[in-house]
Symmetry: C2
Subunit: 425 residues, 2 copies
């Protein structure tokens, strides 16, 4: 029992040629890393290997020499020749036996869908005698749980939502029962409008404050934002949350103007919450972002409470006919301008009878720019109760990135406008 109280480490083995040749991105490993970390299990390493007996065997040997928990995903589909399952049988010196409970569930799975049970699916109920079965209520491949001394080996299918369901339904609970573990706590502060190097330079002294409190810091940049993640192990009587709060207050004093949220917050959720509080409603008019903004806003469940709707006005005549933008304004100022962005926002606000509207206009690229209005020049406007505000962005030539950055900037501008309005009251 003694060693179970030490830091528990895990290793993730992702099995599949589709991962190695990049046809599938390994989102499973990221999700597992995040979830395990949150319950205080440290992921030492993630490896991706091909669907072969020798690779699986070697990876199991290597991982179990380093880590206590070994989690495998993939290699269990009905068309995979069951290499993983057979390898696990040999590795744990056991045999396949037909599991009646699993067979009943697989049969049920197909019958509910009005489909016949194929032999390949029946064979998925043949499982190693030495394992505990991890049930899969979302698909046909069962999971397997093996124990060897203080080590646990878990094998699950690679379909993300099946794997996640199995982890949540059974595996986290089983792991909690098997191990006691020190807890890691994180606090992430989300910033926008400032680069990583400049943040690091401004935060030199603040980092010393973190060191003294044994808090590790990570800068996590991604398009349009830099996340600052503080991490610390719970040990003794120390109040980590209090330490985080103190460091956070000091951080806000230094770079508070760039902070838009915390931890798992998304800008679209923060903006949605602000709108809900007022309460007020939102519409969008998108040219260069082509639906990205609308998709972001509606990705939040319940967004229909405040989102009135949006228009993708890809053509000038749609801007004039639907959004009532003056054709002479487009002529005089160019369609890519502060003025047209504002006219679009005002038009959308009126068209959808909304309190606020965000509009974007620009050239997302990679083609289509001119000397005076190059690819990446984008205007973002927010119209609200007190008029319209717009910003100019000079971005690069990457279409998707430009669409994402402009949408993000539009939401952030709206956030600031709502907060500024509040501050003025």
């Amino acid at each position: 029992m003694e060693n179970r109280l030490q830091q528990i480490t895990a290793e993730i083995i992702s099995i599949g040629d589709e991962l190695l040749i990049g046809q599938t991105i390994n989102t499973n490993a990221a999700w597992l890393g995040e979830q395990l970390n949150a319950i205080g299990i440290k992921v030492n390493r993630t490896v991706v290997i091909s669907d072969s007996r020798s690779e699986i065997w070697a990876a199991l040997d290597e991982a179990s020499a380093r880590s206590q928990i070994i989690i495998m995903t993939g290699g269990l589909g009905p068309t995979k020749d069951d290499i993983t399952k057979h390898t696990l049988c040999s590795y744990f010196q056991t045999d396949l036996v037909m599991n009646e409970e699993a067979l009943a569930r697989i049969t049920d799975f197909f019958e509910q869908r009005g489909l016949p049970v194929l032999e390949v699916n029946r064979q998925q109920a043949a499982l190693p005698a030495a394992c505990k079965v991890i049930h899969n209520f979302r698909g046909t491949a069962c999971g397997m749980w093996f124990e060897r001394e203080d080590r646990v080996f878990i094998s699950m299918p690679g379909v993300p939502y099946e794997m996640k369901g199995m982890m949540e339904d059974e595996v986290f609970g089983k792991l909690a029962a098997f191990y006691h573990r020190p807890v890691i706590r994180h606090r992430t502060v989300l910033t926008t409008g400032v680069g990583e190097s400049f943040l690091a330079d401004k935060l030199k002294d603040w980092e010393k404050m973190l060191e003294e409190r044994k808090i590790a810091l990570a800068y996590l940049p991604s398009p349009g934002m830099v996340k600052l993640r503080m991490s610390s192990y719970l040990e003794g009587d120390r109040d980590v949350e209090m330490d985080f709060r103190q460091c956070e207050q000091e951080l806000l004093r230094i770079v508070g103007e760039y902070v838009y949220g915390y931890d798992k917050d998304t800008l679209q959720e923060i903006v949605g919450e602000l709108l809900r509080q007022q309460p007020s409603t939102l519409a969008v008019a998108e040219s260069c972002t082509g639906g990205t903004l609308s998709k972001l806003i509606t990705s939040v469940p319940g967004s229909s409470d405040y989102f009135r709707g949006g228009i993708t006005a890809y053509k000038n005549d749609v801007k004039t006919s639907q959004l009532n933008v003056d054709a002479s304004l487009i002529e005089a100022k160019n369609v890519v301008s502060h003025e047209v962005a504002c006219a679009m926002a005002e038009g959308a606000k009126k068209l959808f009878s909304a309190d606020w509207a965000i509009a974007t206009t620009g050239t997302a690229g990679p083609g289509g720019g001119t000397d005076s209005h190059p690819v990446g020049l984008i205007y973002v406007a927010v119209a609200g109760p007190a008029g319209c505000k717009s910003i100019e962005m000079r971005l690069g030539k990457r279409r998707e990135n430009n669409m994402d950055m402009a949408s993000f900037a539009g939401l952030n501008l709206l956030r600031k406008e709502i907060l500024g309005q509040k501050a003025d009251l």
Copy 2:
């Protein structure tokens, strides 16, 4: 030289705690796997490790025992304490020297942006004497290329577009000069509307045909589609492309009705190309997909040639006022119905003066369903020159998945309608 003609293998080492705890998804490894594979270099393994000297050292030892090319990404940012760079110095028994060319580029990088050069950025120009520098024209962290016998070790920053740029600008060329390698060819057939198990069952005999031709087959399922990937090494005089074509023809004979494209095709590109050929124009009216369809269509560069625009009609009154859907129709048939989907499509077609329009209506979830109209019940309609066609989908409770699946189905329905129209001529 002899051994350079054998199958060249690579291993990817991704460095960074943000990957292990899942705050960043390892898209770099997927991209590298895909690109290396395409030029005939087989990726044996991908490992993700933390930013520590002992981990990096061990991973280098292990990888170089198995593979000839070792590609590291990450651990080179100005705030990372340069652990990777110092570890590489020790590993290759060399010292850091200031690289004047790199320093000039870094200075230039900041001056062009009107920003001062910080000391942390200057230090990024201090590089191991034993490496060849891989230039980074998109950021400040240089790449490093080390050779040891027939092995190559490459270290690059983890920012995806910097790393990709460095691979394309320099590394692929350098690798081609250093190694000769057998070439792998792939051909991927894209299917929709049929499950993996059923495909596998229908294709049993066809798989034997592939085996005889030494073509490996992979089933790659993802939401709404199953990709079938054929892979083969070029060897001797064999005409792999001819083998692929023959297998493909046989495949089309068996399951041709489900095939919508090949290789890197996307449904939005295929539909765009069909519209361009006619030529005709498209609009969308989205309720439950909330902008997803518009975003998908506009993700294609040049889509402004055929995409007139779209409306996200999240509220019933927007459906009636903007899309001219009869309020009594919504009352009589429910807003989630074949009839309202078609009325929305016809409305969007007219509103945007387009030849075709796609509409979606349903409850994306996770909340909001009723007994008669549960979460996941979605209608997708396509209006065109010859009237409107709609389909019913019964999906699950996962919001994002439902939005993606309904958008995909809308595009596929439009594809079939355009092709059917062609066939009728």
